[in-house]
Amino acid sequence: MMRFYVTILMALRALRRNTMRSILTALGMIIGVGAVIAMVSIGNGAKAQVQSAIAGLGDNLIIVSPASLNTGGVRGGAGTGVTLVPADADAIVADLQEGNKRVMSVSPYIGGGGMQVLANGLNWRPQVLGVGPDWPDIRSWRVTEGTFFSEEDVKTAAKVAVIGKTTADTLFPEGGAVGQMVRIGNIPFKVIGMMDTKGFNNNQDQDDVLFLPYTSHMKRVSRRTSLNSIYVKARNEDVVDRVKSDLTDLLTQRRNGAVDFQVQDQAEIAAARTAATDTMTYLLGAIAGVSLLVGGIGIMNIMLVSVTERTREIGIRLALGAHGKDVLTQFLIEAILLSSLGGIMGVALGIGGSQLAGHYKGWAVEPSTTAMVIAVVFSSFVGVFFGFYPARKAAAMDPIEALRYE
């Protein structure tokens, strides 16, 4: 209808007449939508990152850990729980690797946190981890120089170490780390191999690491008796579920029925970790939603002021033949234009803001098209909702009364 097109034009004219106020009014929407888009982008990015990190752990991987390790999606610190011991790993090897052959390899795992390492007159704090000889196979992580430590090294708790790329580059800037000695406390370890670059996982440099035989770690460095977890690699994808139930059975039996451990495959680890980021995303999304609501109320407020202020204009329009419906549409469209333009600018702000945060904070950012479309549609809906009352107030005016208004 002709009138409708004209009404849009008039609404645009009215907004342009008050550019500054229009921008300030839309600011609530801009910030609200911007926050939603930024939150979703950052949340999505974090989720994708966790997922790709977990996919990068290695194929057909199963991790056995103390029950407290992943409770409620919150990761416990190193040494939480005392239930896993090297004997558990040995039993898994005996029963499932050498026994029913469904398991390809097994490696105990001790996460140490940062430890002071000295070498070459320099010192550095890499992650010092205790693992078994099958670690490179389980993690699909190549040794580029030298060799990984052997079964024999584990048995004898040998003073050998395999160095990560970042640690090697830091402690031996001139190169040639393999064959050199590094010291942890007073104990010297001989570097017998260097790992390939693995990159970042969860903002952590996976190459800033020093691997020791887990026995050496326990006896010589951390003096611990328990493991953080046991990494198990199933023979193929089809047996993953079988291996999980085998592991549960075996360990339950070894504990006389106590289930103080958990067995998770990659999908479950991913789910547990992304659950945390999901919760965060929903929470932040809810806060952003509230700010959208506040933006909507801001629009309603300004529209009400505007209707009062423009009473005379409304009177003139009615006197010249506008129907109540025309006035209603005009003000409603003004509100919708305000809110949806605010929404569109908010999307731009959200993308820009999250990219900026991603750039400076090193967060992974993944803008979601769905979120953008929803945000813009929702913001126009906010305009309809909060613009309706002021618009109806305008439309219900009596022309003579309105013309008389000072």
Binding site: L318, L320, G321, H323, G324, I400
Partner: protein, 259 residues
Amino acid sequence: MAPVVKILDIHKIYDSGEVPVHAVRGVSLEIHRGEFLALMGSSGSGKSTLMNMLGALDRPTKGEYFLDGTDVSKLDKNDLADIRNQKLGFVFQGFNLLSRTTALENVELPLLYGKKRMSSKAMKERAMHCLDIVGLSKRSDHMPNQLSGGQQQRVAIARALVNEPQVLLADEPTGNLDSKTSIEVMGVFQKLNEQGITIVMVTHELDIAHYCKRDLILRDGVVVRDELVKDRSIAERELQRLAEAEAKAKLIGGPIPTV
């Protein structure tokens, strides 16, 4: 020929306040095509109330009103709006132009609410033509605050003309203007009337009423006199006389500071 406006025993009672006010108490009136009628009376005599009813802005409490054959007193809100848009043109004392809107856009306004579909080009042409009639086509892109009072009122007249109304209604159109500008506006009205447009205007100034053809005097809501104007003033002539007087003043009094 049937009258354009025919009202029969029309009444208006305002009962919004504490005491009901009987503002118009039984006015009957016929206005024919081509008439130029002045509605006079002291303040509070009911002129505006009567005009609002004639202008279909307000409904009479009692009585009948036929505009161009249609019984307006029975119409609903939207139909009244259409009548105002299609058959009537309004000029207000306070001009009532949309601020921060160009003269041309102001004149286009009634076209936007019209029933007929028009291209924006056609609207512009039509509005421009009406601005031309009132001699303001050169100021079409000016905002109201860039125009003098007389010019603003001429824009308002152009706006009232744009839908080719049956009757042009003006409530104290010269009330906010100085005497010379008032005569200019009356000149515009006289020109329009000569072209056949029916005009009804409210004024309380006798000399302004003298530019009209018929003079109606209202007192306490009733018509107390209805007569033809004798010795009608002609705006063109009056303006010429004013210009001569001004020129003479300049010759005698030496330099007068320009106003």
